[in-house]
Amino acid sequence: MTSTAGSAGPTDGTTRRPSEPGAAPRPGGSAVIRRFTLAERLVHRTTSWLMLLCVATAAFLYVPQLAELVGRRYLVVTVHEWSGILLPVPFLAGLVSHAFRRDLGRINRFAPYDREWLRAVRRRWNWAGARPAGKFNAGQKIYASWLAGATVLMIFTGLLMWFTGLLPLVSRTSATFIHDWLALTVGIVLAGHIGMAFKDPGARRGMRTGSVERGWARREHSEWEDETAAEERREARRRSD
């Protein structure tokens, strides 16, 4: 830990601005680092708008007070059906992006520190460094994987309600039952996702602009650099094999 002459107090080396007079470029580069490419942000942006439309129309179909407010059931149903059915499209389109596929791989794989992260959350440990995470923390990994499965289920049961008789084995009543209760669960989980983004301007900045402050990254995703280094080593080994 070094302090810069003339500054009010000791500066955290990881958050030094490049514009700071006399600040030598640290190994590791500038104060901001790239988190998401434009393609990834577009996938997130379109998915979130579709999801919002889907959840809002669901509320207007389902909550009696809201249903009374807007009526127009046929229109609301149509918007709900199409926003739901289109939900996987941004994801599928995103698969052409290398960065997106690579992040999916990161979300899929659990490292030992993810278990540490989960343990820290379970025991409510939140001192600095208690919750190590790669580019995505264990919570984000489980959230994304669960929501992917839940979305498939919602579309499947939704289609069974839309086209009755698609699968004679499953009655529309059963499909509605799963669709309703899973919708409630998805709503709660989404509220958690949005709430957590609301509390973390650094994370929001990453999704909005594509880059994050290095200090934020080291604080919230302490293993991200190691994760990237390991990936590079793995790739180098694959090339040399």
């Binding site: 009526g71 794989r109 049961t157 009543t173």
Partner: protein, 262 residues
């Protein structure tokens, strides 16, 4: 292979945190694909739920029904199907009609077209039913008392002309419509309903006056009834234009096999 990597890493953990570039930084194995397992697990639970739904649903609804009786907060009624009925409205907004403003018009192929006020309808002989309500989307509410005037009484009073074959029902929401054949409409359990569950029908449930067609799916029981017109053929109603069956018998239409309500 993975397990060995884990233990190596966890052993050296404390030191590498201090140094930042400890041995753990060299770990480059790929962890297990937990994400995929979570996704597939979610799908499996969903598929299981779908298969078990007929059994789960009955128990859950009974439980929620009982819970809603003792729940002062009303939260239970906001849960899926906790309250039984669901509100469906196809129009943008529905005007409120009171005893002073409500009218039911009988016209079309009849000898004596006329208009009834709420008081006129209340003065006619009343019929009571106490049967299940079954919606085509799946929900069913057991034993819902309805009370009102038989449609056949109103038809007799109006005098249906010889060429009359069917009825067209219109609603003061300005959008919804329904249809029945004359034979269907003359059943004893087809009512112009004024009371539901022992109370005057509230606006949400289609009040002050709605149609009640006991043997058919509930979309046939048009809410906010304002007109009955005798026609020479069946003119499909609102949902029927979107593919619902015109003859909406419970258990024998719309590709469903629910237990009949009558």
């Amino acid at each position: 292979m993975f397990n060995r990597d884990v233990s190596e890493r966890e052993d050296g953990r404390g030191n590498e945190r201090e140094g930042g570039q400890g041995d753990g930084g060299r770990w480059d194995g790929r962890g297990p694909a937990i994400g995929r397992r979570v996704l597939l697990g979610t799908l499996a639970v969903g598929a299981g739920g779908l298969a078990a739904a007929p059994y789960l649903q009955g128990g859950l609804e009974k439980f929620l029904g009982a819970a809603s009786q003792v729940d002062p907060t009303g939260i239970v009624n906001t849960l899926p199907n906790g309250g039984g009925f669901r509100f469906y409205n196809v129009a943008a907004s529905v005007p409120t009609k009171t005893a002073a403003t409500y009218r039911l018009k009988i016209d079309g192929l009849v000898e004596h077209p006329r208009s009834y006020t709420l008081a006129d309808l209340e003065a006619l002989p009343q019929t009571r039913t106490d049967l299940d309500v079954q919606c085509v989307t799946g929900w069913r509410v057991p034993k819902v008392p309805f009370q009102g005037v038989k449609v056949s009484d109103l038809l007799d009073a109006a005098g249906v002309k010889a060429e009359g074959r069917a009825l067209r029902f219109t609603c003061f929401d300005g959008t919804y419509s329904e249809s029945l054949t004359l034979t269907q409409a003359r059943r004893n359990d087809v009512l112009v309903a004024l009371r539901m569950q022992g109370k005057p029908i509230g606006k949400d449930h289609g009040g002050p006056v709605r149609l009640y067609v006991a043997p058919m799916y509930f979309y046939k029981s048009a809410k906010w009834l304002s007109g009955i017109s005798v026609t020479d053929k069946v003119e499909p109603g609102y949902w029927e234009e979107y593919g619902y069956d015109v003859d909406g018998w419970v258990g024998r239409s719309n590709g469903r096999d629910d237990a009949p309500t009558v």
